[in-house]
Symmetry: C2
Subunit: 205 residues, 2 copies
DNA sequence: GTCTATAGCCTGATAGAC
DNA sequence: GTCTATCAGGCTATAGAC
């Protein structure tokens, strides 16, 4: 009595819906998005879309859930056996690359968190906290060994998140200030962030 | 034939509405907020609220406009005659203090910008850009004189915005990770940011 | 100036033909 | 599986009594 395996068409339509929904939710927020918009962007009628997902809420939940794991992978990859400075700079680079490649996902999360994280608060205070605490302990160990300059490790992680995601979440402002939609801020952003974290974490000696 | 001067009651009600609207808009976004919510929070009936403002849109516009100036004051205060490092660190401190004291205003802007800044895009690419360019030139001058270590001045300004506003905009996540609503992240955040920008901008010699 | 009542629109979701 | 038609609820805004 298993659910029937999805056909190719079902897979394709579900994928198209999620892709369209990511677009719409990330730019208008949950409440600002309409099912009509998502359906149109996915090339389906509204009732047809609701044949694939039971509700607007369900689409949103699927997106959040599916992305959350991917979103934390760069932090998970921080390797205790690596060279500390290289590890941190690689983490920053991965996170910035995610902002560049997946700005819609970044904005989806930003929206959710700014509005009080009603749907993922639980995960933040359990899974995310656990992961961050573990990696903060690793960073602190490196600092105690004199392999990184000492700073508060939790705030160090916050700073990496905020500095990298800024280029996705506030991308409109970045382009407005830098002078137009054609400018690519990422090369300079990457150089700036490498400098910033090198100088911040370089041990004295 | 001037408009009559507002009575005390009118002033008080308008202020109450704006205060309530800031609360509701900043946590639910424009679309997520309802006039009913705002009216209830302001202690008025819905039609009565719409006697003071012609529309929901008008309340939102008033808030954005009124806040924008205040929001940029800390950057305007960056003083060419001051000591460079002191000036930058003071700017960071002022900006962090604004996140602490006015988190709702910060989230209001964050919402607007994440959603593509439909109502303030013009201001961003004219007034804001002009101000940032001017202050970036000032910073660059200090770097050329060897009074600050060289970095891209525009990205330096972005980094100050993102690092300080993070504690207001993503405050739910910060508290979830640090372990509860009772924790005050600002003292450690302030110390962390002073360290960060000192090490980033301290000239070599 | 403030209320009750309601118009009128939009939106999420369902019914039912094909 | 996909459509047209439509319902029910919630929303902004207005009308009109007081």
């Amino acid at each position: 009595m298993n659910a029937p395996a999805p056909t190719r068409i079902q897979k394709k339509n579900r994928a198209a819906i999620l892709e369209a929904a990511l677009d719409v939710f990330s730019t208008h927020g949950f409440r600002g998005a309409t099912v009509d918009q998502i359906a149109a962007a996915a090339g389906l009628s509204k009732p047809n879309l609701l044949y694939y997902f039971p509700s607007k809420e369900a689409i949103h939940a699927t997106l959040l859930e599916r992305m959350l794991d991917t979103w934390l992978d760069p932090l998970r990859a921080l390797d205790p056996r690596g060279e500390p400075m290289d590890e941190v700079l690689a983490y920053v680079a991965r996170k910035l690359e995610m902002s560049r490649s997946y700005p819609r996902e970044s904005r989806l999360f930003a929206n959710e968190i700014i509005h009080g994280a009603p749907r993922i608060h639980q995960v933040l205070s359990t899974d995310l906290k656990e992961l961050v605490d573990k990696k903060a302990a690793l960073l602190l160990g490196w600092m105690d060994q004199g392999r990184l300059a000492p700073v508060d490790p939790h705030h160090l992680i916050f700073s990496i998140w905020s500095l990298t995601q800024h280029y996705a979440d506030f991308n409109v402002q970045v382009h407005a200030v830098l002078g137009g939609p054609d400018i690519d801020p990422y090369p300079e952003a990457g150089a700036f962030l490498r400098t910033l974290f090198s100088r911040l974490l370089q041990p004295d000696d």
